[in-house]
Subunit: 207 residues, 2 copies
């Protein structure tokens, strides 16, 4: 992952904002990564062109080349940002609310064109190594966040010690089916029911 | 769905065995439907040819034409049989065991080439109406079986009254993720954990 993003355009304050989080650099970086995801969803990884990314992001082409000389790295960073932004697992101190928020956001992501493209890649017969690698990294990041969240809940005595992979799949699995089968809408109420049943089940089966 | 399957070949007993379940006719029918699924998985619905089906099934071409003049109907019947045979939900009287068996069989189906092809169709952007319709019918059949099984369990007081769609998706959702992510193997032990947590959760949240 590049340490910072350098652009050839003048910055707001006329100085390098590399060290300022949320500043222009972070914005440019975020725009490039968002544009990359949009184009990957539309054309796939093999059709990805840096010029189009720059145009869609509204940035200088060199900003893309300089910071991501390796296309695989760009795709990976784009996916990591996307996965994090589109369905974050917060730690508000209220596990139930955080999980419900996460499932609702996950359902929205899965319904989006980018989410749909990612899912198609996951189940595709032909394996695209760049994208497959990137998706592996995105899942790792997601599971790491889930593990941290569950550990924090275990520490507070909210839930007994759990296998975080198992718990994550148990919670998010039904969301995929609701969204993809399009039989019944995935509402916040459904998300609450899933979280309530699963958390109660974890409590009841762990002694 | 055709009432019976007529073949131009002589039957074992030299008489029409239409009314004999499990007889030659049922076998021919089953062979045709299995061959259809295999070819749909390999080539998709648009590439489906009756001659190839007959050849693969080892039956007379007329057997296919006569009984399924409509290709969409053939694809639907093939999928219905496949869905039923590949992951049946039995009623042995032991709900836990029946559900664990179902999840284990579902994981096997999803890992197979036919299951994989079906999943790709489900998440594909391009909609093939014949196959989409057939898959709808197969899901309807699956949910009807699940509803019957849950109702029988409710009648016996094994579980409180439940939304069978919700319960089915809650149980089978994680199986899809385990199989498709290929991170951790989906074992019988995992299936048991899912069933135990979900059933305990259903009990604990319904009063």
């Amino acid at each position: 992952m590049p340490e910072n993003v350098q652009t050839s355009e003048p910055t707001d304050a006329g100085a390098r904002p590399a060290a300022r989080p949320g500043g222009r650099n972070a914005r440019v970086r975020s725009q490039i990564l968002a544009a990359t995801m949009e184009l990957v969803a539309r054309d796939g990884v093999t059709g990805l062109r840096y010029e189009e990314i720059a145009e869609l992001a509204g940035v200088n082409r060199n900003s893309v080349y300089r910071n991501w000389p390796d296309r695989a790295e760009l795709v990976k960073d784009a996916l990591l940002q996307y996965a994090k932004d589109s369905a974050p697992l917060h730690d508000s101190g209220d596990l139930r609310r955080d999980l419900v928020d996460f499932l609702v956001a996950l359902a929205e992501r899965l319904s989006s064109s980018v989410g749909r493209a990612m899912l198609q890649t996951t189940v595709a017969a032909t394996v695209n190594t760049d994208l497959t690698e990137a998706m592996r990294a995105a899942y790792d990041q997601q599971f790491a966040a889930a593990r941290r969240r569950f550990e924090s809940a275990v520490d507070k005595g909210e839930i007994p010690p759990v296998d975080s992979y198992f718990l994550t799949e148990l919670l998010s699995g039904p969301v995929y089916l609701y969204v993809n089968r399009r039989r019944h809408p995935f509402t916040r109420e459904v998300a609450e029911k899933i979280v309530d049943v699963v958390l109660a089940g974890i409590h009841a089966t762990t002694s």
